[in-house]
């Protein structure tokens, strides 16, 4: 058995295979739903209703999509240059820490200055956090998968240390949580009385900016060249290591915005369960989007919809909401296989 490259994959094939991947994912999930003793059709309908069946549901989905857009973008940018940033989770938490440090009253500034200051500081922190593994990779050849993965733990421990110590809310009745950010540091809601906040708008704008960077600028060109073939890129005069550094700064910075947006727009304070693995889910989001920044917005909303819908569904249908996690994981694997087959065909001899 071997793979043979397709010379010129047609547009239909390029679009059809990812759709097939999603269908296969639904089929596999349907089997699990059957195992749970429910009807797949009614369950999928309930998921759909829970995710997009009402204005409330839809806004909830977009709220959940917001951090995923940020982490998805962070991963898409990094993976494009083949910088394997598995540490978006850590960068998210660092962004959240900075938000809490600066946003709980330390800087008595009006909102229109304070929020940009916090954003820049959070991005800087996330950027620096990924710069470490990037330097270790370029200088010493250390695999960034291992370092970014481990940093997730170290940062989480660090956050837990802060929440037990200097950042602990004195009014928090002993819970490991920070004080709430002041009103000036909060992102306003988009719709009165709903949870969707301006973090979502920032996420969309970020996606557009990243798209422009990737498509239109020399930096985007360099990142793609380095990702495809670092040796040839280096020969052509592209400073590979410097490009990887810039990629790390960009990727880490965007991931940190997820933490900022969650604290500033949604939660109001920092706890150890701020992120239920948004950093890891960001990898799925980026892969489903084939690393395209605009696609990230779509796939983040899709993934968020599954989570939000499955929560609603499990309350009524009695199928565990973990079905959403299974679906997301399955879609990642079916999608990478589908992408392979848009470019290669399988030969059995």
């Amino acid at each position: 058995m071997r793979l043979e490259p397709k010379t010129a994959p047609s547009l239909i094939v390029t679009l059809l295979y990812p759709v097939a991947a999603i269908l296969v994912t639904f089929a596999i999930t349907a089997l699990l739903v059957l195992a749970a003793g429910a009807s797949p059709f009614s369950v999928f309908f309930l998921v759909w209703k829970g995710a997009a069946g009402s204005q409330f549901a839809l806004l909830e989905t977009l709220t959940r999509a917001t951090p995923l857009i940020f982490t998805g973008l962070a991963v898409a940018v990094a993976f494009r240059a083949k910088l394997w940033n598995i540490g978006a989770e850590a960068q998210l938490y660092i962004g959240a820490v900075v938000t809490v440090v600066l946003g709980t009253g330390a800087l008595p500034l009006p909102s229109f200055i304070l929020i940009p200051v916090i954003m820049v500081a959070a991005m800087a922190a996330g950027a620096l956090l990924l710069l470490g593994p990037a330097i270790l990779k370029t200088r010493f050849g250390v695999d960034e998968v291992v370092t970014t993965l481990l940093l997730n733990f170290i940062v989480l421990l660090f956050v837990s240390m802060l929440l037990e110590g200097v950042l602990k809310d004195p009014m928090g009745m002993g819970w490991p949580q920070s004080s709430r950010v002041i009103a000036e540091a909060q992102l306003p809601r988009i719709v009165q009385g709903r949870r969707l906040h301006y973090g979502f708008v920032i996420a969309i704008v970020s996606a557009v900016i990243i798209w422009i960077i990737m498509k239109k600028t020399a930096l985007g060109y360099e990142m793609r060249a380095v990702g495809h073939n670092p040796q040839a890129a280096s020969f052509a005069g592209i400073p590979v290591n410097r490009v990887l550094m810039k990629t790390a700064l960009l990727s880490g910075g965007i991931a940190a915005l997820a933490g900022f947006s969650e604290v500033s727009g949604l939660k109001g304070n920092l706890t150890l369960d701020l992120s239920p693995g948004y950093g890891y889910t960001g990898i799925v989001v980026a892969m489903l989007a084939m690393l395209n920044p605009i696609g990230v917005v779509v796939s983040a909303i899709f993934v968020a919809g599954i989570f939000v819908g499955a929560d609603a569904m499990s309350r009524t249908a009695g199928v565990p909401s973990y079905i959403a996690d299974v679906m997301v994981a399955t879609s990642l694997l079916t999608m990478v296989v589908a992408l392979l087959f848009t470019r290669y065909r399988l030969r059995w001899k």
Partner: protein, 505 residues
């Protein structure tokens, strides 16, 4: 003649539209050395990969000792007594010679590897056939010649009756080559049969009983070695008498590029330069001959900017360069044709447009304030495609889809665009068909005509001798004194390539 040990009948193999092997049939007798002669890309390696089971032929049958081999099964080929010495060694560097040889020869479910028995057999075989190598040495620490001996031992250890050697001399010095030929004679005396793949006429004449010539996938001729001569074989190989390109006289110009006693860092792989001095004049092609692996790669990397000097100076038109890098080299007006166009010269998954601008996307011509001007880039790609007669579906096509010759033309177009005053051409014609080769030669001579200083690095002595105004031989990291066109014979150059007479610094 007794029944053949190996018979190929009607072997055909296609890769997409390309027919790599077209209905090839031949027999191999016991104790015979058959040379398979052909240019790079003639289909020799494909044929051997089919024979060994790495590829499956679209048509045709391989029979060994009268029994058909199941296609696509290297294990069956090994069992049938076929051993192959690959051009690129198939050895695990982290393991010992013994471990590499024993790999796959003992039952995989055995609880213990029999080292003692293996060692005794290896030592006996290496003594019998003049293949000296320490079984306990780690392969990573061996020289290229020693590694090749390990490859041959691997095949003999498995009781190979048919030995296929794919371009075995490409990596050897003349002395090592002679030793190899002596070993082959001992093996034939033991009744082994050998297929010797090469594109070097003199070796084929020296070692074989019979010659099969391959040209663009077809068997273009079969001769008994004793009854043929070099020029007849050459004609069969290329389809026409090899005609050296006309080289018009050009008066040498100014010194364009000088390496002044330059050294490079020592690394685990690759030969370092030690106080190397080299100067290139405008309007002159300097040919650098040598067996591969003698430091040419390092020298080329240094000129291209991917290697930096640890001592000495790089002087370009009288000014010493500082902060050497690929960008600095480009900025100094050096046009570069890399040795490996797939891994180094191009980015396969990017478009033709994206590839042609790779060396100067930062210039005002293609970018403004960090934003790329894709329209200008595309125009440039179209211009190169037209000027250099590149066959490609569109500037947006991924460059991976182009043939080697068209890829090389794009690289030439990219490198020659701003009329570089210094040109580094590293194996510029390797693996190209005859038409593409003469195209590349023409372009190099054109550049010479307009006064560029050219360094031509090639393993093909005939190419070097045909094009170069002066020839330098590289051996073990050192450069010989230059000789003018026609001053040294092939034999004299061969002596230098073997390391005799090259100054030791």
């Amino acid at each position: 003649m007794s029944s053949p040990v190996l018979r190929l009948s009607g072997i055909t193999k296609r890769f997409g539209p390309l027919v790599a092997n077209d209905a090839i049939s031949f027999d191999l007798a016991r104790g015979e050395v058959v040379a398979l002669l052909g240019e790079n890309g003639a289909g020799k390696t494909t044929l051997m990969n089919i024979l060994f089971g790495h590829y499956v032929a679209d048509e045709g049958v391989v029979e060994a000792f009268g029994k058909a081999l199941p296609p696509g099964d290297p294990h069956a080929a090994l069992e049938a007594g076929i051993g192959m010495v690959h051009q690129h060694f198939t050895l695990a560097d982290n393991m010992t010679v013994l471990e590499n040889i024993a790999l796959g020869t003992q039952k995989l479910n055995a609880w213990r590897l029999d080292r003692t028995g293996a060692r005794e057999r290896i030592e006996k075989m290496s003594f019998d056939f003049g293949l000296a190598v320490d079984p306990m040495a780690t392969v990573g620490s061996l020289s290229v010649g020693e590694r090749q001996r390990v490859e041959i031992l691997k095949a003999l250890y498995r009781n190979a009756k048919i030995l296929i050697l794919d371009e075995p001399t490409a990596v050897l010095t003349p002395v090592e080559t002679d030793a190899l030929f002596a070993t082959l004679k001992l093996l034939v005396a033991q009744g082994l049969s050998i297929i010797f793949i090469s594109h070097k006429l003199n070796e084929v004449m020296a070692v074989s009983d019979r010659v099969l010539v391959l040209r663009s996938g077809k068997l273009s001729g079969e001769r008994v070695t004793a009854e043929t001569n070099r020029s007849e074989l050459a004609a069969l190989m290329v389809g026409q008498e090899v005609e050296p390109p006309p080289v018009p006289p050009v008066a040498p110009g100014e010194l364009q590029f000088v390496l002044n006693s330059v050294s490079t860092a020592r690394r685990a792989s690759g030969t370092a330069l030690d106080r190397t001095t080299l100067s290139l004049r405008g309007g002159e092609i300097t040919g650098l001959a040598g067996v591969s692996g003698n430091g040419q790669a390092t020298l080329a990397a240094l000129i291209a900017g991917t290697e930096v000097p640890t001592a000495g100076e790089i002087i370009i038109r009288g000014t010493a360069a500082r902060d050497w890098s690929p960008r600095a080299a480009l900025g100094a007006g050096i046009g570069r044709i890399p040795e490996d166009r797939h891994a180094v010269g191009t980015i396969g998954d990017m478009s033709v447009t994206e590839n042609v601008i790779a060396e100067r996307y930062r210039s005002p011509r293609f970018s403004r304030r960090g934003f790329l001007d894709w329209r200008a880039a595309r125009k440039f790609a179209e211009q190169v495609i037209a000027d250099y007669d590149v066959k490609c579906p569109s500037p947006e096509a991924r460059i991976r889809l182009l043939s080697g010759g068209n890829m090389q033309k794009l690289i030439l177009g990219r490198a020659f665009d701003e009329e570089p005053s210094v040109i580094l051409a590293n194996q510029p014609t390797r693996g190209l068909d005859v038409g593409a080769v003469s195209y590349v030669h023409r372009k190099l001579l054109e550049a010479r005509g307009r006064g560029a200083a050219i360094l031509l690095i090639s393993e093909d002595l005939e190419e070097i001798m045909a094009l170069s105004d002066r020839i330098i031989v590289m051996s073990k990291g050192h450069l010989s004194a230059a000789s003018a066109r026609g001053e040294r014979t092939i034999a004299q150059l061969g002596e230098l390539m073997a390391g005799h007479g090259v100054e030791a610094a």
